[in-house]
Amino acid sequence: MTVTRAPAETLSVLDRPNSYIGKTVPRPNLDRLLQGRGQYVSDLELPRMAHVVFLRSPYAHARIVAIDADAARRMPGVMSIVTGRELEPVITPWVGVLSHLKGLKSAPQHAIAIDRVCWQGEAVAAIVATSRAAAEDAMEQIAVDYEELETVTDMRTALDPATPVIHTSLGDNLAFERTLDAGDVDQALSDSEVVEADFVFGRHTGVTLEPRAVVADWNAAEARLTIYQGTQAPHMVQNIAALHLGLSEAQVRVVCKDVGGSFGIKVHIYADEMATYALSKLLRRPIKFVADRVESFNTDIHARDHRCRGRIGVRPDGTITAFEIDDLTGIGPYSMYPRTSAIEANQVVNLVGGPYVTPNYRARTRVVFQNKNVMCQYRAVGHPIACSVTEGLVDLAAARIGMDPVEIRRRNLIPDDAYPCASPSGMKFEQLSHHASLAKLLQMMDYDALRAEQAALRARNIHRGIGIASFIEVTNPSAAFYGVGGAKISSQDGVAVRLDAQGSVICQTSITEQGQGSESLTAQIVGSVLGVSMERVRVILGDTDNTPYGGGTWASRGAGIGGEAALQAAKALRQNILDVAAAILQSTPGGLDIVNNSIVNAGDGASRIELSELARIVYFRPDTLPPGIQPELMATRHFVPRQYPFAFTNGVQASWLEVDTETGFVTLLKHWVVEDCGTIINPQLVDEQIRGGVVQGLGAALFEKCIYDERGQLTNANMADYLVPMSGEMPDIEIGHVVSPTQESELGAKGAGEAGTAGAAAAVANAVNDALRPFGATITEIPLTPQVILTALGRI
């Protein structure tokens, strides 16, 4: 690990004796999960609970002429069959726009389609029955008369005058457009070598192990709706459900315990989930919806699917003079709710060229509607596209002028001592470490030796490639992400910590756990700051009735924002405890400390009184305390970043791979990542978070693609045909760190969740092109399938 800043003069709360910060400690929830005691919504059973299945449109665009459910209603176990028209009085439609994304437009979307379906998979009726199987039996008996409408599928022609407009009220199929022009691109390009390429990114999705799942339970007696849902943002769900069901937020409780993977898939509000809330209210009983795998592929948000023309200017000395992009993406028929489907394109504009010093940058992105499943934010939103375009162009520029890919980066990456500074797109960087990261990466991979090995193998007709990709990563978002645009999505988080009567600690936090270790990092921070051992810290999360208000876990914010709130809450409780201890021990708070569950002398460390004894006195014998003391053994603190809109992090990845130039198959041999996420709370969790992210990026690079035909049919909506990356094809992934803590918080932690996904595909694509360089082939399209590679090589 390389630390770019000298440690502070005085010890911080993070450096206390027996600190858990920076240590790989086992996750406190491991035994519970391994013994099958996880609380997943998919497993939840409630009394009188019914199951809903949605009949989904087989057409990408069609008018619903008639729905005949008479036969289905007579099937065994069927309780109700509800159409969009019948559900309309219970839940209002929504429009997925935000005011800070100027010009973004979308059409009203209903929980269940009324009159018209706009993608294959949109729900047209809900079948509620005693079991999922009974509902599926009944579903086969429903006859829907559709009148097929012309479909819009190709984003490239979506704006042509001859193409039908999906929502006539909007006037055209353009959802959003943004342009940016910084510096003087024309001037810069006019005296440079200009290299350009079209980058194509496949549409893919998140594929969580546990599908989307919700149980909605309307309690008419209390006039309260309890929603059990695998989500990343319980308070956002509470707000949206209340808004559209005509309830106050106090009438909605959202419970979200264990979640089987999210990756951004579960940070949105889906129409079928809204329908499930409404059905519970309509039918006055608990209703369960669990997406099956085919539904997941057809309705979980998709992502990427960009076509981006990129240009780069370079001088013979390697100076990069400008970047220019023209980006296009198709998002399906609606902008997703409530975060909108313009964020990914917006991020692409924000991030291209971000690691480099050139001030000249021009960009345009256009977001168009089409009759395919909705697209929205999936892990590393926009980053893989921006990184692949930027790093692909940098490698092409290096090749044009005959410079080593490492050397051109050395000459153009923002110097490590240039901070704070801003990018041409206005992104503010507090402290990045591109050069320290690159240096560490080269050392880890032994770059020069690898180049020598590559050359030696070429002589034996074995073609291996090295690909490098530097990246920047958006983490710890402030209100700049959603709040300023009018979305009621909190950017702050809260933590409440209290000492119980036996000296244990109960901690309630508004961040959520989807497998990345939120419980662990919270317990590590609270235990360290308080001086209490981790097994005494119990973390409660995922319940809007029982945690502070907050954003949840997404956009790499849990550790940086929720972690800082935990630190500040624990500090406050610690002070409260020391105040009481000083009164009991006739000492001063400054003369005492808490170490290993005991109050000790700050000076000599001698043990004075156990925390359990202090708690006993406070709770049961307050009469023995000095007069006037009112102990407060609970503290709550909230935190939101105020200084920077985002805590940018940075890193660099490298891929080493072999291309079989006869078959087009790629074998990944090794992958390296150096990342700078500031303070590392749990090294193992950070490294595994990065590895998981890399694997999802490698999936995009080589395997994953939602394949639509020209009629808007998704043709590979199953786990046999949609190829997720699997362990057999994955290389060893070595992780290194540079540590530049953010000064915005005492904790200093930035996010690490996007890093792996941000740069993995770019590194692989650059490595494949490096391997193919003797053949004169350049590929700027992912996934890099054998078909694509053989075609580029002219073999087929």
């Binding site: 999922r132 199987a133 599926e136 039996d137 086969e140 099956d292 795998r293 085919v294 007709n461 074995i462 073609h463 079989d660 130039t661 006869e662 078959t663 087009g664 198959f665 395997f703 394949i707 043709t715 590979n716 199953n718 046999a720 045909d721 190829l723 990356p725 699997m726 057999g728 094809e729 399938t785 054998p786 078909q787 053989l790 073999r795 087929i796």
Partner: protein, 293 residues
């Protein structure tokens, strides 16, 4: 994704299974390992009225050598083929092929009889039994019949089996002197259905093929025993001859196009496999280098 309701009968003997099949005809499906049948039922691609579970019929399990035949019971699981010393000795091609079939959980349940009767054109074992010149033993209401593997596969999921017949065993000629085998497939991920695959058996004497059977799979509606192999038998294999054979192979293939590969890509990969197979079987790496690797 829940299967439609169905009846279930666990057969107590082969005779009992045949009675059940006779009674229900094509409304019944035989359940062996269930690794293809159950997903298809859960997706409601098929909805049989009744499943006849033959899983308890121990008489259909096991691997035995009888004279110069290796007899493999229909219920023999993939994992059994992988671990069997008899298979390793007499038909190592099956062992090599099984390593490419899906993943351990599936190999622990899937059976050779189920795979052959299912007749997925992209699966490994049908091509192996064709390359091995095996015989498929089936039993029906009128008794037992033996079908050459080359005659057994009739199309996508279609075989010479009647709805009232049960596949009971596979007879494989044991590997003789000079026998050598090659198995390779190209799949996007390990364990996926192949884009193109080749199961080959050869007899090599003094650097020449005296026999060569090339069973290609995933290149048509059934495994294909390539006629092009004939050009390489009893001949001095040169790069030029191998190129001729590759051209002949490309001509005799009529591959389908799907999401993974165009017909042209399948033809190309089949010829790559041919070259690599011949180079490996004759232990002459230079034959492979016809085209840059």
């Amino acid at each position: 994704m829940k299967a439609a309701a169905f009846a279930y009968a666990r057969a107590t003997s082969v005779v009992n299974a045949l009675e059940l099949l006779a009674a229900h005809g094509d409304k019944a499906k035989v359940l062996s390992g269930g690794q293809s049948l159950m997903p298809a039922m859960n997706l409601r691609l098929i909805s049989p009225d009744i499943l006849v579970d033959i899983g308890g019929l121990t008489e259909l399990r096991g691997i035995a050598v009888r004279g110069d035949l290796l007899v493999v019971g229909a219920l023999t699981r993939h994992v059994d083929l992988l671990r069997s010393p008899e298979i390793a000795l007499h038909a190592p091609l099956l062992r090599d092929a099984v390593a490419h079939i899906a993943h351990p959980a599936i190999r622990n349940r899937g059976t050779i009889g189920g795979s052959l009767a299912h007749a997925d054109p992209a699966s490994e074992l049908p091509a192996c039994v064709v390359a091995l010149d095996a015989t498929i033993v089936v039993r029906g209401p009128t008794g037992e019949r033996r079908i050459a593997a080359t005659e057994f596969f009739r199309g996508i999921y279609e075989t010479a089996l009647s709805p009232d017949e049960l596949l009971v065993a596979i007879e494989v000629p044991v590997a003789g002197q000079g026998s050598t085998f090659f198995f390779q497939e190209y799949a996007r991920r390990h364990g996926d259905y192949a884009i193109v695959g080749l199961a080959a058996r050869a007899v090599v004497a003094t650097g020449r093929f005296t026999d060569l059977r090339l069973g290609f799979f995933a290149i048509g509606d059934r495994p294909l025993l390539a006629a092009a192999a004939g050009r390489l038998i009893n001949a001095s294999v040169t790069s030029a001859l191998l190129a001729d054979a590759a051209t002949a192979l490309a001509d005799e293939l009529d591959p389908q196009e799907d999401q993974q590969a165009t017909a042209a890509m399948r033809r190309h990969l089949a010829t790559v496999l041919l070259r690599r197979c011949v180079a490996a079987l004759l232990v002459r790496p230079e034959l492979e280098a016809g085209v840059a690797r």
